[in-house]
Amino acid sequence: MSQKNQHRFQVDLRGLIELLSRHLYSGPSVFVREMLQNGIDAINARRRTDPLHEGTLQVELIQGKSNPATLVFQDDGVGLNESQIHEFLSTIGQSSKRAGMVERPEDFIGQFGIGLLSCFMVTDEIVVISRSAEEGASAVEWRGQSDGTYSVRMLGDDFAVGTQVFLRAKEGAEEFYEPERIVELLKEFGEYLELNINFVMGGRTSQINALPPWSQNIEQAAEKESLLEYGSSIFERRFLDVIPLNSVAGNVDGLAYVLSDSVHAGSKQNHRVYLKNMLLSAEAHDLLPDWAFFVQSIVNASALKPTASRESFYEDETLEQTREELGNCLRNYLVEMSKTDVRRFQQFLAVHQLAVKALALEDDECLLLFADWLPFETTLGRMTLGEFREEHSTIRYVVSDDQFRQISQVAAAESIPVVNAGYVYDAELLERIGQLQPETEVEPFDASELADRFEELTLEEREETVEFERFADAVLQQFKCVVDVGKFHPAEMPSLYVTNANANFLRSIEQSQEVTDDLWSDVLGQMAEDVTATYSRLHLNYLNPLIKKISRLDDREAVRRCVETLYVQALLLGHIPLKQNELKLLSGGLIGLIDWALNCAEGEGR
């Protein structure tokens, strides 16, 4: 294509700004950030030729009686000459910060020449008056309209070097021209900047700047107290402690606030992140390692790259190193506390055991250090892993609450120590401990092992029950359940139903097959093909008087009904959903019972 035939798109500026404000920026308020940004960059540019230039940013609010309010952003930076004005202010996507430089100098925060445009979110006309620091340069006025047109005129040299930007409130954006709101926004974004920022209204000047929290000395008790208060006011919640954060890679300083309440595993906390002292985002994520969900932080970074929206950081190797270094700060805090202040560490664990477990899972050294402090539910009561290990060299665990409930009563009565690892991270942690410390045996507890601990039946008892056991076994054959008669505690418990993962999976398959059509029934059948069919087991307790009586019944039909009812009862107690044939058993058993009771009553009546 020849040069002649090349045309430019006509871009509708209004539509573009709409897009920007809706998708790139989080809302109109970022125009304040963009204006501060431009001012800082201009001042830094001037300092390169005039290192002693101090530089000041001034924001003035002029509230007209009948006219809309006007905001004036003024800097005494490097300024722009006429050709620069044409070039930089009137080409979207262009920025003076990029021109003629291969690499952006480090003290430039801004990266995209769209900053000024963001003002169209709050005004219909932007007026810029600028005088370049170049010798002999005159002031230039640029007027840009939100429809994309602009005009430029020369003003002479009656102006100070620097740039003034005039914004007049547009309809619907008045809130950004309220003094409280604008001061709040200036503080929000620029409070911790090193440059002086002044706010002027009605002839009165006030300073926006404050001392950044990350530059304060946290070692001093009083300062720490005030930093905690500061954190509470920023995040609007209470904190247990505050920890300093540092990273060389990202050149980061900051504070991590320890939440005073426990949060769920892997939750995401909002972090307040500054880039070169300017607020980047109040809702940043992914700055800390995944396990660090017990803190909310405020950090200032100088060596991380912001994303295009300038509201989070670009995911690169530096960010990764930073994340690791910041993680180390938190990690060292915990390690130190566990070594020097056990009581505090225990209190900490009571609130944040999940975070500590998450860290331990990723960090073997921490795992070994913290393992003994971690609290677990066991069949012998709630205790730390250390207390458990003092008494037992083997850690047996079950992986679900359900399983734990099934076995806990018997295991407790028989003094069999089993750990409930039914919550997130638990099973993995215990397994890892077993790998790291071969002297500690760690193994999943197989409920079928319970039976090995049961008291043996005497020879005499065996003889008494052998026939009963065989018959009961035959009754439950169709339910893929084996019957064992044994003696176990507590004696009040007539039976114990023990199942396993495979049996559970097969049960869910059969349960669905009962309601599905042929295709899905076949599909499920094929799914289950490779699963070893295992029988569940019903242990009947010979210490229990009821079981003893049943075993001595002569009436086979009565024994059958009893065994079936015991079986269904055991399923119900174990919260195991009944299949169709088991439901039938339940209703059949009840009807049979009524029938039997009526017969008895009739017999007595006769």
């Binding site: 595993a265 359900d402 919550y423 349960q511 309601v515 599909v523």
Partner: protein
């Protein structure tokens, strides 16, 4: 336990599970929630709890648990479509997962799979959606089974249809496109395709985790090691705690061996063997075991025995941690061959035992 208690306990479990990251614990809690819902005998609770389980199981590498739950829900929906109209779109969406996962289940016969595809296709049509997802999943199945022409045919048909509300998200589609190119050995196209994902512009629940790992081989073949090294590292952070990424760990081991980082490959093997032993997703297990075999071959060149920290569930577990490498290599050899044999038998070709093995190792 009264129905009210069961209902409360079910709700608690569902709520607790919803706050957990995807993984074993979440699945176990929702299985329990399903059991409590059954006690209430309220069909809608039973339906909702199962729908939650389907979601959790899929994202935790336990797709086998999705099948009975899905079949149950589908049966209830067919019995009374009006009653479950509120979940119709979810059910349609989950149908994609069901058929997307048949590539992991060699014991499912092709005629049953075809019949499921027919049912899915009818449901999509009846509910006013186009056949795009059906065609895409057919292409995926053809891909996994090594049917080149068929894959091409379905993929082209799929590409011609417009996206509607049942279409995968754009990140997933880009990832799928890359898999298509990789299947036809078009490495450069694959890498070019996933650039928006690598740049961080396209993400979703499982992207870029899946993409980073799948793209290691093409990048290595193209000599772009710096990038590949970076994605390897980034990816591990995303996948190391979730068994649904077993296959991805396999890809990582292949890449680490290619880069001569044997020690790191050993660590991946030790740490994630437990996932494989516990998995029903046989294509993923196959990829992982094949990678392990390549690792063991390499180790055996130097030594006959070696200290390894392997889980107790490993059938050749040794308490002193000292392993005869030939012996365990034989075990993995036998396993990979058995799995490959099952897939090939189902598919009626020798893709797993020949082409796939060769294309995974580099």
């Amino acid at each position: 336990m009264s129905d009210g208690d069961a209902f409360e306990r079910m709700n608690e479990l569902v709520y607790e599970a919803s706050n957990l990251p995807h993984g074993e614990t979440q699945v176990r809690m929702l299985e329990e929630a399903v059991r409590f819902s059954d006690i209430t005998q309220d069909i809608e609770y039973m339906f909702d709890a199962r729908m939650q389980l389907i979601n959790a199981a899929t994202f935790a590498g336990h797709s086998e648990k999705m099948y009975p739950a899905f079949a149950w829900c589908l049966a209830q929906y067919e019995k009374d479509p009006e009653r479950f109209y509120y979940s119709e779109d979810h059910l349609l969406w989950y149908f994609k997962w069901v058929l997307g996962n048949v590539t992991e289940v060699p014991q499912l016969s092709m005629d049953k799979i075809d019949a499921m595809f027919d049912q899915m296709s009818t449901m999509y049509r009846d509910c006013g959606y186009n056949q795009r997802p059906v065609l895409y999943l057919k292409a995926c199945l053809a891909q996994a089974s090594g049917f080149h022409d068929e894959e091409q045919k379905y993929f082209q048909k799929f590409s011609k249809l417009k996206r509607d509300d049942m279409a995968d998200c754009s990140a997933c589609e880009i990832d799928g496109m890359a898999n298509h190119y990789l299947f036809h050995n078009e490495f450069e196209d694959a890498v070019k395709t996933v650039q928006p994902i690598l740049d961080g512009r396209e993400t979703c629940e499982t992207v870029p985790a899946r993409t980073y790992n799948r793209i290691l081989q093409p990048l290595a073949v193209l000599g772009r090691y710096d990038e590949a090294d970076e994605y390897l590292r980034k990816a591990y952070r995303l996948i190391r705690n979730n068994p649904q990424y077993l296959r991805a760990i396999g890809y990582q081991i292949f890449y680490l061996l290619h880069r001569n980082k044997t020690q790191m490959a050993v660590q991946r093997f030790e740490k994630h063997l437990g996932w494989a032993l516990n998995s029903f997703e046989m294509d993923s297990v196959f990829t992982f075991y094949l990678a392990v075999r390549q690792l063991l071959q390499k180790l055996r060149k130097r030594k006959t025995h070696r200290e390894l920290t392997l889980p107790k569930a490993f059938p050749l577990f040794s308490a002193d941690g000292n392993y005869d490498l030939e012996q365990i290599d034989n075990w993995f050899d036998e396993k990979t061959r058995t799995i490959a044999g099952k897939f090939d038998q189902r598919n009626g070709n020798d893709y797993y035992t020949s082409d796939l093995m060769n294309s995974l190792c580099y």
